[in-house]
């Protein structure tokens, strides 16, 4: 009797679980580090150095080679072109598996020009032009509307970043929100090749 009941309960539970729950899948461990960068300020950029493996303070970004990539909300700049004196650049590998990117391209990196950024989120909003990366800044686009909350469209592209000192990192910007759902907190997954080789 107990067996029967148990069997029935198990069956019922299995049925309910099938109906309600989502399938779980095993996570295959993939290489790469993950960092959350607070770029929520409208009036400032947050700089990151792959060598230091952390966010760094930069007083004058146009003259410094101590940073590799910087964030302002969803805007991105790398250390090259109009944004800095470094040997930086960016390359869009497209929406592919992060692990499948095993080698950085040799050339045809995009250099920084200028982008339009929202400097003050007020009524009316204030936009200014600033040095930035037109390619990586499109990792996510925001569509605003009068009648609905803004929508966030992630490209999920994998980018290869050439650092200020000419080394390579592959990055995937996976999230624009932190755990508390505050915007401008970017989650970056990355693999940095400190040796200067193009192999990841």
């Amino acid at each position: 009797m107990i067996k029967k009941t148990t069997l029935f309960t198990a069956f019922a539970l299995a049925a309910v679980t099938f109906l309600i729950s989502c399938e779980k899948d095993e996570t295959s461990p993939k290489s790469g580090k993950v960092i959350e960068i607070n770029a929520s300020a409208y009036n400032a950029w947050t700089y990151f150095s792959f060598d230091e493996d952390t966010v760094v303070n930069i007083t004058n970004y146009t003259t410094s080679t101590d940073w590799d990539i910087a964030f302002h909300r969803s805007d991105v700049r790398v250390n090259c072109g109009q944004a800095g004196p470094g040997q930086g650049g960016s390359y869009n590998m497209g929406k592919i598996n992060f692990n499948s990117v095993t080698e950085a391209p040799a050339d045809r990196y995009s250099l920084n020009t200028t982008i339009n950024i929202l400097e003050s989120y007020t009524m009316p909003p204030v936009y200014v032009t600033a040095p930035g990366d037109t390619l990586v800044s499109k990792w996510m686009t925001i569509t605003t509307s009068n009648t609905a909350p803004p929508t966030y469209n992630y490209s999920d592209n994998i980018y290869v970043i050439r650092t200020a000192k000419g080394k390579y990192a592959k990055i995937w910007l996976t999230n624009y929100f932190n755990k508390q759902s505050q915007s401008g907190h970017i989650t970056m997954k990355y693999v940095y090749q400190a040796s200067g080789s193009r192999q990841f």
């Binding site: 109906l19 309600i20 989502c22 399938e23 779980k24 899948d25 996570t27 295959s28 993939k30 929406k95 592919i96 598996n97 992060f98 989120y121 007020t122 009524m123 569509t143 509307s145 009068n146 009648t147 609905a148 909350p149 929508t151 966030y152 992630y154 999920d156 996976t174 999230n175 624009y176 929100f177 932190n178 755990k179 508390q180 759902s181 915007s183 997954k189």
Partner: protein, 749 residues
């Protein structure tokens, strides 16, 4: 010897004839000649005081225990006319029940808050029966209202279903479940997803202001959703419905790109299956009954894109702006929810009572990759106790506690944080006196208490509340056999807007097949706690301010109607005209360079409606029904929002039934036509109103329900047969991706 034999034989005969025997009754449908299950049979002996009752089985047969001699039987069943006859007991008695085609015998409670059959209710009531609901294979309240009430349009507003009816927004229609108010709102609409069609017995619609009986919000109409109650000793029903997905939003390859479990779950939730499943179990034993219901449903999320240019006309500037084809999609959330409910009660000669409980959990799957989504929950506890004082006097006390919470669910940590909590407490005491031949009196005293905790008040998790204490008097006065006058009056003290008084008056005159009604009623809508106390900054862009000095909106409602009911022609037609004028309508104004939005009283709004409803059973197997609603709003430049309802709305249904042995077929084709409409909205960028035009459209659904051996059913159908997709999507169009098929199986015992 012979004498002895005779005596023995006679005594045996007498003994046999005196011996109580059981009587078998067979109940058949007068048309199909099939047995009718679940018929409640009450019998009373003509000789002595014995009496009893029984319910027919699946073959339509009932056994009345211990009957003798001549008995009077009353056979009643939902969907049939009540049958009463005096029979002398014999082996088998077959009786034939006639179908209640026009639902005239169905008991409604909304019009006068006392049970009245549709035939005798003095207040004009539209009834959507269980049969109507299963005919259109409705799964949600949305489906029912959209296809059965011509004046109703169901749209999606922000986070949930929104109703607009007779030129009025959702907040002017009071939606009740078993006569009780529902806590929680989104843009003035209750959460229609809380209740599933499988748990609905019938829906009663009373047009016009009914604030005298129901209080706030009963300005445009009252929609009372009556949940199922067991009708036989033991019943089980289960159903499962699968519909085609609306859209494929992601792929396995895309999901595989992501390492994090929460991201994979987030993406998968977009493509939930379209499933509705319900299980209900009920029993009725002697005087006790109980009904338990469990329902689970989910739907995929989808995006709708415009295919036509957005053209806005600014009347004040006399200029037209063509914004091109918008590339922004209108996103419709997916969801998964479950509801669990139980009602248990008893009925004895002098006492009856019921306890109800309900739990509902609704999870919404949006497209926003922001680590959170909404969860809404609701629980209800309520009940009543009724005492029969003899001579048709009853005293009833009831209590309902309804809680609606909104949460933000953190997808990474899988924890939820409450952002909104709304509680309704409603105590009622009612005394109804029907002992006088000409007057049916109803006295009520009520205390209503609402509590709202919201993150949209000035400090997070601030709480506000209102109390309303009222008395209600109603007299249903039968002037003569043809004329009935119903007068009602509500008076009370509301903590937010002080004393209020709402009268209502309906005169019904019956003449042959015609019933004429004239009504006047006052309606009101109390300002919501949000309108009173809101203080919410939307990002850094603008702030919405409530005003604690807001007054209640009041309305004057006038209506005229003619009802034609011809039982022999199986035809009923109702035509009505009404005028509803709202004063002190609460709206909002933008100030301080569009950075502040303030609620304020002072708008006037009036609406004129004409409606025609008809139901005609042309053949025994074929029924046509439908309705047309015309809405006219006199132009007024001061109102902020023109009607979002189209001036012309129409519903039509053709319903075919066939029964052959153990096979039953029901085929239904239903149409909803929504006429062209113009909607006026405020452009907050330049503080000018603009008008947008939406074209007319039709939605056609086909349902084919088959039933085998009474217990098993198989339904297939198609929603939106002609694949209508709005060229411009907004809050004012039906959010559909086009034609979608479904299949459903069911089991009823």
């Amino acid at each position: 010897m012979n004498y002895l034999k005779l005596i023995i034989l006679t005594s045996i005969c007498i003994a046999f004839s005196l011996k109580l025997h059981s009587q078998t009754i067979e109940v058949k449908d007068s048309y199909t000649k099939q047995g009718v299950p679940n018929v409640n049979i009450q019998w009373k002996s003509a000789i002595n005081k014995s009496k009893g009752g029984a319910t027919t089985n699946s073959k339509g047969i009932a056994t009345l225990a211990s009957t003798e001699g001549i008995i009077t039987i009353t056979a009643s069943c939902i969907g049939y006319k009540t049958y009463t006859d005096t029979i002398s007991t014999s082996n088998l008695v077959t009786i034939y029940l006639e179908e209640d085609i026009l639902n005239l015998e169905q008991v409604t409670v909304t019009g006068t808050r006392t049970p009245r059959s549709l035939k005798e209710t003095p207040v004009l009531t539209q009834l959507v029966s269980r049969k109507d609901i299963s005919g259109i294979k409705a799964t949600t309240v949305n489906d029912i209202l959209e296809m059965e009430i011509p004046s109703v349009e169901m749209n999606l507003h922000g986070y949930g279903a929104a109703l607009s009816s007779q030129g009025l927004e959702g907040k002017y229609t009071l939606v009740l479940i078993d006569g009780e108010r529902m806590a929680g709102e989104n843009d003035g609409n209750v959460d229609f997803s809380r209740i599933n069609a499988a748990n609905i017995e019938q829906v009663e619609i009373v047009k016009g202001a009914s604030s005298a009986l129901y209080g706030s919000n009963a300005i445009g109409s009252v929609i009372n959703i009556i949940t199922k109650k067991p009708s036989k000793k033991f019943e089980v029903s289960a159903s499962f419905r699968y519909a085609e997905p609306n859209q494929k939003n992601t792929s396995d390859a895309e999901i595989e790109l992501h390492d994090e479990q929460y991201m994979r779950k987030f993406l998968r939730n977009w493509d939930r299956q379209n499933i509705n499943s319900d299980i209900s179990v009920g029993f009725k034993m002697n005087s006790v009954y109980s009904q338990t219901y469990f329902g689970y449903k989910c739907r995929d999320a989808y995006k709708l894109f415009n295919t036509k240019e957005t053209v806005k006309y600014y009347p004040e500037l006399d200029s037209t702006a063509n914004e091109g084809i918008s590339t922004t999609s209108t996103n419709i959330f997916g969801f998964a929810d479950y509801a669990f409910s139980n009602k248990t009660g008893f009925n004895t000669k002098n006492w009856s009572g019921e306890l109800r409980g309900n739990f509902y959990n609704h999870e919404e799957f949006d497209f926003e990759r922001d680590n959170k989504h909404n969860i809404y929950t609701n629980y209800t506890a309520g009940g009543f106790l009724e005492r029969n004082l003899g001579q048709r006097n009853t005293v009833k006390i009831s209590f309902n506690h309804d809680v609606y919470n909104k949460y933000l669910f953190n997808e990474i940590d899988e924890v939820k944080e409450k952002s909104y909590g709304n509680i309704f407490n409603h105590f009622r005491a009612t005394y109804s006196n029907e002992q006088y031949t000409n007057h049916k009196l109803l006295f009520g005293a009520e205390i209503f208490n609402e509590i709202l905790k919201s993150d949209r008040f000035s400090s997070a998790q601030e709480t506000h509340s209102v109390n309303d204490a009222v008395i209600i008097i109603q007299d249903e006065y039968s002037v003569n056999s043809k004329t009935t006058i119903v007068g009602g009056l509500r008076s009370g003290y509301h903590s937010a807007h002080s004393l209020h008084l709402s009268p209502s008056l309906t005169i019904k005159v019956s003449n042959g097949d015609f019933n004429y009604r004239v009504s006047y009623a006052r309606g009101f809508r109390s300002p919501t706690l949000k309108e009173l106390y809101m203080n919410w900054q939307h990002l850094t862009l603008f702030t919405i301010y409530g005003d604690k000095n807001l007054k209640a909106e009041t309305s004057n409602y006038f209506a005229l109607s003619t009802e034609y009911v011809n039982i022999s022609k199986r035809l009923s037609i109702t035509g009505s005209l009404s005028y509803n004028s709202i004063k002190n309508k609460i709206g909002g104004i933008w100030t301080a360079n569009q950075t502040e939005y303030h609620y304020k009283n002072g708008y006037e709004y009036s609406v004129f409606n004409a409606e025609l409803l008809a139901r005609w059973k042309i053949l025994k197997s074929l029924q046509v029904k439908g309705g047309y609603a015309y809405t006219h709003i006199p132009e007024d430049e001061s109102i902020t929002l023109l009607s979002t309802t189209s001036p012309h709305n129409l519903t039509a249904q053709l319903d075919y039934n066939l029964t052959k042995g153990w096979y039953e077929l029901n085929a239904n084709i239903a149409l909803k036509f929504i006429g062209k409409k113009k909607v006026r909205e405020l452009d907050i960028d330049n503080n000018n109103f603009y008008i947008m035009e939406y074209p007319n459209y039709s939605l056609v659904n086909i349902n084919i329900n088959q039933r085998f051996k009474r217990n098993y059913s198989l339904s297939i159908g198609v929603k939106n047969l002609f694949s209508y997709v709005a060229p411009i999507h907004s809050f004012y169009t039906t959010p559909t991706v086009g034609q979608r098929f479904f299949i459903a199986i069911g089991y009823d015992f």
